[in-house]
């Protein structure tokens, strides 16, 4: 076969003829502007008032304009399609609204209470109503750290073993256990608190402590870690396992030395998501942790403060100072959760790239 030298052609540029043209975009923007104008006129001239009236009239107008325009251009099917599109966009905006509102509220209300002394002192000598430059949430930071660590120490092995059972052992009980893990993730947090009270605090220790808080959080953390780890382990290709067994390794060695290391970053993601899930749990800690105001490094004895408890106590105290304290506390808590999330995403992204 003779090699033919391809003739040099003029380079053709890729195009996307299906992308909206400038004219179509102009029509869309025009429709929006027209609807805004119409909204102001309608609300101005009628009895209607308030933000809700603006939103409602605008939605109605934009839908009618799009409907008529699409009906005239392409018929009834396109007109119906335009209604659906408008509603879909509206659905996203309504979902976005509380997220933006919450983030704004945290920033706006939390920033006044953000003082450096938050990180250096506790509330041993201060009440929630004291000026914001006194006292802090060091005890909450320490307490939450200790309790979440305890919860992690308990739920990490159990969660990952559950995931290994579900993905690697595949016994008779796989389906029922999968189902139970899912059900367990729906246990209300206050029930977890009541359970620790009834099983440990009342019969054995008699007093609340950080350890009990850790136990309660563990119950909420196990299903999150188990489910996320299961998803991660399912992503490990089957041939990796077969390769391990074919090389003469036992199942234990294959899983501990090949499968789990391969899934390491994913498992860390599972742990991070588990921590993020429980870091803000309030109700069980109000019941079982005692909620002290001083830094307490001993989880086995004495009340232990925590982020959610600090926020809860400050919020329910109800004075401007204490509420500012609560917002500042939630600001910091959310920053921590945010950081955990970004770490998990980065690790997860890493995994996808490989």
């Amino acid at each position: 076969m003779t090699a033919k030298i391809p003739e040099v052609k003029a380079k053709v540029k890729p195009t996307k003829p299906w992308a909206p043209t400038t004219r179509e975009r102009a029509v869309d923007i025009g429709a929006i502007l027209l609807a805004i104008l119409g909204t102001f006129i309608a609300v101005g001239l009628s009895e209607l008032k308030g933000k809700l009236a603006y939103a409602g009239v605008f939605l109605l107008l934009i839908i009618s304009i799009n409907f008529i325009q699409n009906y005239l251009r392409s018929g009834i099917a396109a007109a119906k399609d335009s209604i659906a599109s408008t509603f879909a966009v509206a659905g996203v905006l309504v979902t976005l609204l509380p997220i933006v509102s919450i983030l704004y509220a945290i920033f706006e209300r939390g920033k006044t209470g953000l003082k450096f002394n938050l990180f250096t002192s506790d509330m041993k000598l201060n009440g929630p109503n004291d000026p914001l430059n006194q006292g802090g949430l060091l005890h909450a930071l320490v307490g939450s750290g200790i309790m979440v660590t305890i919860a992690l120490l308990i739920s990490l092995p159990i969660g990952i073993l559950t995931a290994i059972y579900l993905t690697e052992i595949k016994g008779l009980l796989t389906r029922p256990i999968k189902f139970l893990v899912q059900s367990m993730s729906g246990v209300p947090s206050i029930v977890a608190g009541l359970f620790i009270l009834s099983a440990i605090v009342f019969p054995i220790t008699k007093t609340p402590s950080g350890l009990m808080g850790g136990f309660a959080l563990a119950i909420l953390m196990i299903p999150t870690i188990a489910r996320t780890s299961e998803e991660v382990l399912l992503l490990i290709p089957e041939d990796l396992r077969e390769a391990g067994v074919a090389l003469g390794g036992t199942q234990w060695r294959t899983i501990s030395q090949i499968v789990v290391p391969a899934a390491k970053s994913g498992l860390i993601t599972a742990v991070i998501l588990g921590v993020a899930r429980v870091a803000g749990e309030t109700a069980p800690l109000v019941l079982v942790s005692g909620g002290g105001d001083a830094v307490n490094l001993n989880p086995a004895a004495g009340p232990m403060g925590s982020f959610p408890f600090y926020i809860w106590k400050s919020f329910t105290f109800g004075t401007p100072e204490s509420i500012a304290r609560a917002w500042a506390g939630i600001f910091i808590l959310l920053l921590l959760i945010f950081a955990l999330f970004i770490t998990a995403r980065l690790l997860g992204g890493d995994r996808n790239k490989k």
């Binding site: 879909a88 309504v94 919450i102 052992i169 189902f179 729906g186 947090s189 029930v191 234990w252 999330f341």
Partner: protein, 332 residues
């Protein structure tokens, strides 16, 4: 059917394929199975311990614990609670729990489904990724945050919406109001709970919608269908039951919610179906509210209430999970 002569005599005996694991593997399997069983053990223990604590109250109240709507603690002169004279009934709180959660789900479903449809079939890739990350983040917001935001930011708006509802739909029995106070009603709590469960229902619906078999979607488009006609003919029939399951998971979450409801709902111990009246209840927040100053007997009653809540959410979640996993595995 004829049998070849040489095969008619005897088939070779089947060989046993032995697959007996080694000792280390048996230990490992045992340990993993133990870990796997932990969820069963924990759920069982929760039931046993709560039942154990609540046993006396349940026995004294009998069926009245579910149907009664009084919560009355009678103490004798020495300050010891008289169990026989006291009344513990959770009907009012059960009704309140269901009412708030139902309002939340009714508000959340259309918004979540539209949002999920937009993210799956309309959104440009960039917007989709940002929105999915935001919704995941929102699902991880602690409930106390929703409680505070609901109290300080949302409640004034929600009261205004409640007034409008009353003004225009007051003729409907459940929007009836005799007094002009719209604060801290089940409606307000329902709106707060709705914002909490929108991310849950959205992400489950999105997952289900994105599993819609591509060949059916293409078949619809190839027949000259618009996007909406395709969604109606292909996506909705495929994803309907999954969305129902997702909504039930949201319902379960809303029923078990404590602090977010506590902050925005006026806990009044009466059966109330009118959603705009500032009197309602919720099992979880009732437990939290009463726990602080409860004596030993009342705590036992609260444990029994916790048991009821546990069973209720377990049932709702189980049904939801069955529905969702069925839709997910339906495949093509």
């Amino acid at each position: 059917m004829t049998i070849a002569p040489n095969r008619s005599t005897s088939l070779p005996a089947r060989r046993e394929l032995s697959n007996k694991p080694r000792l280390s593997d048996r230990v490992f399997r045992g340990v993993a199975t133990g870990g796997g069983l932990s969820s069963l053990v924990i759920l069982g223990l929760i039931f046993i311990f709560l039942a154990n604590q609540g046993y006396q109250v349940l026995k004294s109240e009998g069926f009245g614990f579910i149907t009664g709507s009084n919560w009355l603690v009678v103490q004798d002169n020495a300050g010891i609670t008289d169990l026989a004279a006291s009344e513990f009934g959770i009907a009012a709180m059960l009704v309140g729990t269901l009412l708030c959660a139902t309002i939340a789900v009714i508000i959340a479903i259309p918004i979540s489904v539209l949002c999920a449809l937009y993210l799956t079939f309309y959104a440009p890739e960039v917007i989709k990724r940002i929105m999915v990350a935001l919704i995941d983040l929102m699902a991880a917001f602690p409930s106390i945050l929703f409680g505070m935001w609901g109290f300080f930011v949302l409640m004034p708006h929600a009261e205004y919406w409640a007034r409008l509802l009353h003004k225009y739909f007051g003729w409907l029995p459940f929007f009836k109001m005799d007094v002009d106070i719209f604060e801290r009603s089940p409606f307000v709590a329902g709106v707060v709970l709705a914002t909490m469960i929108i991310p849950i229902i959205t992400s489950i619906s999105r997952e289900i919608f994105s599993q819609t078999p591509l060949d059916r979607i293409q078949a619809a488009y190839a027949l000259g269908s618009t996007r909406w006609a395709m969604i109606k003919a292909v996506v909705i029939p495929y994803g309907r039951s999954g969305v129902v399951g997702g909504a039930m998971l949201g319902l379960g979450r809303a029923m078990g919610e404590t602090v977010a409801v506590y902050t925005v709902l006026n806990l009044v111990y009466q059966i109330n179906w009118q959603v705009l009246i500032g009197a309602g209840g919720n099992m979880a927040s009732m437990i939290l509210l009463k726990f602080g100053e409860a004596g030993p007997t009342e705590i036992q009653a609260l444990m029994a209430a916790g048991l009821a809540l546990f069973i209720l959410t377990l049932i709702v979640n189980s049904i939801a999970n069955i529905i969702v996993s069925k839709t997910g595995s339906k495949g093509r």
